[in-house]
């Protein structure tokens, strides 16, 4: 049974410092509220909202780490409020909750994340080969595994929030897609059925070259997606190594062959480059769920 059932924290008073304000400025407001057993940060924020500050602005949906709405910075550390348990924080000291720093503030804990939606619209969509009447796609599990890792993304934008290319240089937003969208581009690039070559775009329009592989994005990803190792580095490899060689690219994509045979699937994915080695390493982890405390030791 959980150690919290002993109820040792229950008499304590929490000192919560929540950022209140809008784009014109603001400050931390302190709220004192009795601790309750087994809570996450979002619960405490909700209790403050219900009892003391009905107009406190905060985003949330699922309260289960599945929708990526409740991103914030807790004691300065980017995390999901609904997956950060109070028992993991030092509750003797005041706990600060502030909005993500990488995006403009709307109000209180809510930020303007529209930049991400703008980037999403610029990505050329999935383009499958044309199927004959009655024909269905065949893909092997091993081929879909790679894309499935990126499709776990809950779009919390914490990776975008910590990336210094975005955070420190507002004007980079024009030309830099950011880690979440490198993961999306990698997913499309590695999709066994996609027929579109996006490699030129990745470097010329989405600014892949600006990323200097600091791995900050990977470290905060609550889904444990290996953004740098499995998306960014392979993308860089593909962009540089392949020299836009359309034949090699096609060979890798299996396009125009909606029903690839096991043999050509195997050939297309035969380990050869660093990227493949990285994927092979990941394949060894299939089945183990990333521990998504927000930190991936990587």
């Amino acid at each position: 049974m959980s150690p919290e059932t002993t109820g040792t924290d229950t008499q304590k008073t929490l000192k919560m410092r929540l950022w209140r304000g809008d784009e014109s400025g603001g400050e931390f407001a302190e709220y004192q509220i009795p601790a309750q057993e087994g809570e996450v940060v979002l619960d405490v924020v909700h209790r403050i909202q219900a009892e003391d500050a009905p107009d406190l602005a905060v985003r949330w949906n699922c309260k289960a780490g599945k929708c990526g709405s409740c991103s914030a910075e807790i004691n300065g550390r980017p995390a999901l409020m609904c997956m950060t348990r109070m028992s993991t924080l030092d509750i003797d000291a005041p706990i600060t909750v502030s909005p993500m720093r990488g995006f403009p503030i709307i109000r209180d804990l809510v930020t303007d994340v529209s930049y991400n939606y703008a980037v999403a619209r610029r990505i050329p969509p999935f383009q499958p080969p044309v199927l004959a009447e009655g024909e269905v796609f065949r893909m092997q599990q091993i081929d879909v595994d790679r894309g499935q890792e990126f499709r776990k993304c809950i779009e919390c934008f914490l990776c975008q929030n910590v990336c210094h290319v975005i955070r420190d240089h507002e004007d980079n937003k024009e030309s830099f897609a950011g880690p979440r969208f490198f993961a999306r581009l990698a997913e499309l690039e590695m999709h066994p059925l996609d027929t579109l070559d996006r490699r030129r775009l990745v470097s010329e329009q989405f600014g892949l070259g600006l990323c200097n592989i600091t791995k900050c994005c990977t470290e905060v990803c609550p889904e444990g997606i290996h953004i740098t190792d499995n998306a960014i580095i392979p993308l860089k490899e593909r962009v540089v190594d392949a020299r836009f060689d359309p034949v090699a690219w096609l060979g890798r994509k299996l396009t125009g062959k909606p029903n690839p045979t096991p043999a050509n699937v195997a050939a297309a994915y035969a380990p050869e480059t660093l990227e493949d080695q990285l994927n092979a390493r990941r394949a060894g982890q299939v089945g183990s769920h990333p521990m998504t405390t927000g930190i991936d030791s990587n």
Partner: protein, 600 residues
């Protein structure tokens, strides 16, 4: 309207979960200028929470499967209260809808020969759920989201719709909304409107639903004069987390029991054997020895009673707790730790392992989980025409959880993701055809707009200290205690009374602060929808004097197949009051009836 932002579209879709997005894609493909409005950011809808899969008789794992078997399973699961035509269309069209997702980039788990893998689920005769691990809903939502973005649908995010608008002839022709960010109003004119707003779970205290599940679409339709049906049929999922309090209601997937998990009371008794009803006797194991062999040999042994339909299991848990045999926090134990190896558990149930570890500090490979029923899904909803998804008011359409009829009195797992694809698409077509048939410009009636915005702003002027959060909690207590999983006439009548008071409280809420991103204000507006829905549920529950699927009456414990099993409880607003009447179910044609005579 001088000061109000106004947009003009062919089709307005309210709600951007799977059903709304699928409808938008279809409407746009029909050449309609389409607007999609959602209360949250795009991609956050409750659809992401669906774990198990999409039910579709593709026959990839069992080639014997076909739409007729799926249809039959769905009707039986729904205790025959389903709209047969919806269940038929759903069973026939879901395979195509799943394959279409693949054309849009979805990556389902695969069979060894490269097809979409399908898994077993409660109530489905064959392994039928196309899935992606235990995050199928996220995959589905992302796929339609990306598709919607690719085809250029205009999305209006973080906008709460307050009321629908209508023309002189009573046809729905738009809606008034509120930008959550700025607190300013917005008017959408449209030739037709599709509601795809999801469920109502937030009127209960313990629910698996997100904050958005406040019955907005049900209430919008009701206020616009449309009929709702069978609002008393609500699914309480038997296994929700109950500890810690903050996680209470969060879903624990049926997959835990599918993979060997068993239910025990505080005396360590596997109590489900005491709750096998006559209806399921023939297909359920009555000894532990037999039950335990089923997992490896499904052909020669019958299912363990832990895998009875959701309504049966939820009632059993409720009875154990009432009898004083519950767990310390008022639920029962779900034990997989003593049944499977730690390695197996982590491999097959990764997100459950993670959820308990992170939120409850319980290692499910070592300890039992404490679980209890949680409000999960409403089978009832807006009354629609099966083929076109049209509601009973012209110009209005509905799809997904907000529409009623498809699931009857109880929904099978996996049938909601397929429902929203099949009927999302059909609503898109239905609304487009309707829009093409209307002529002339949409005329917005400014007096209606004025009235609606005045009403929304009135919460700022209210004197007194009625707080939206406490009024909401009071509503949740009433519904949880009096209109919960087991119901009885005296309590339902008590609830009806209390709801009258709650309606007044909801209207008296006073809002502090300013209009910009003010959750207290948003809750006040959600609350009036929840109260309206709660009234429908309560009235339906009073009149349905039988037990059927997601509606259990202590005072009428048996189904009444002759009379009540053949009617819908229809709620609507007449003279400003919610009222209920009963109407006969649509009659199933003989060739479909035969399907139920053949087997057993």
């Amino acid at each position: 309207m001088p000061d109000i932002e106004t947009h003009d579209f062919d089709i307005l879709i309210i709600g951007a979960g799977g059903a709304g997005l699928r409808a938008a894609i279809e409407a746009q493909a029909k050449g309609m200028r389409t607007a999609l409005v959602c209360k949250s950011l795009l991609g956050k809808a409750h659809t992401v929470m669906a774990e198990g899969g999409v039910a579709a008789a593709m026959g990839n794992v069992y080639s014997e499967d076909n739409w007729k078997v799926h249809f039959r399973d769905t009707m039986r699961g729904g205790k025959m209260l389903n709209n047969w035509r919806m269940a038929q269309l759903h069973a026939q069209e879901s395979p195509e809808r799943v394959l279409e997702l693949e054309q849009w980039g979805a990556l389902f788990d695969r069979t060894p020969d490269g097809l979409i893998l399908q898994r077993d689920f409660g109530g489905h005769r064959y392994a039928r759920l196309a899935h992606v691990g235990d995050r199928t809903g996220l995959e589905l939502l992302r796929t339609v989201q990306h598709r919607a973005v690719a085809v250029g649908i205009q999305v209006f995010m973080e906008c709460k719709i307050i009321r629908l608008l209508h023309d002189e002839a009573g046809r729905v022709n738009g809606a008034v909304g509120l930008w959550r960010e700025t607190g300013k109003f917005v008017v959408f004119g449209a030739k037709s409107v599709i509601l795809a707003t999801g469920g109502v779970g937030k009127m209960y205290k313990f629910t698996s639903n997100s904050w958005e599940g406040t019955g907005d679409g049900h209430a919008l339709a009701l206020w616009a004069g449309a009929d709702l049906i069978d609002m008393e049929c609500i699914q309480f999922h038997p296994t929700g987390m109950i500890w810690p309090p903050s996680a209470r209601g969060l879903l624990v997937t049926e997959g835990v029991r599918g993979d060997g998990g068993i239910l025990k009371n505080r005396d360590n008794e596997r109590f489900m054997f005491n709750y096998i009803s006559d209806y399921f006797k023939a297909e359920t194991s009555d000894t532990i020895e037999e039950a335990d062999q089923w997992y490896d040999n499904k052909r020669d042994f019958r299912r363990p009673p832990e895998l009875l339909p959701r309504d049966e299991v939820a009632r059993a848990i409720n009875s154990e707790v009432k009898a004083g045999r519950g767990s310390p926090h008022g639920g029962v134990f779900l034990d997989i730790a003593s049944r499977r190896s730690a390695e197996d558990i982590r491999r097959r149930l990764p997100s459950m392992y993670h959820q308990f570890k992170e939120l409850a500090d319980v290692d499910i490979t070592k300890d039992a989980m404490e679980i209890g029923p949680t409000c999960h899904y409403i089978m009832g909803g807006i009354r629609v025409d099966a083929d076109s998804a049209a509601a009973t008011v012209p110009g209005l359409f509905a799809a997904g959880e907000v529409a009623g009829g498809m699931h009857g009195a109880n929904r099978l797992g996996g049938n909601s993701l397929s429902d929203l694809l099949v009927f999302g698409r059909r609503a898109g077509i239905g609304a487009a055809e309707y829009a093409l048939g209307t002529s002339g410009k949409v005329n917005i009636d400014e007096t209606q707009v004025e009235k609606i915005t005045q009403h929304a702003l009135s919460f700022f002027d209210h004197e007194g200290h009625e707080n939206a959060y406490s009024a909401h909690q009071a509503l949740q207590n009433t519904m949880q205690e009096l209109v919960g999983i087991i119901r009885t006439e005296s309590e339902l009548l008590e609830a009806k009374d209390q709801l009258r008071g709650l309606e007044e409280r909801a209207q008296a809420v006073s809002v502090e602060g300013h209009r910009q991103f003010n959750p207290g204000w948003h809750l006040a507006l959600d609350l009036e929808a929840m109260v309206a829905v709660a009234q429908c549920t309560t009235l339906g529950a009073i009149d349905r004097r039988e037990s059927r699927g997601g509606h259990t009456r202590e005072d009428f414990p048996l189904p009444d197949n002759e009379t009540l099993g053949k009617i819908n409880m229809v709620t609507s607003i007449a003279n400003g009051e919610v009222s209920v009447r009963s109407e006969a179910l649509p009659e199933m044609p003989p060739e479909l009836k035969e399907l139920f005579e053949e087997a057993h």
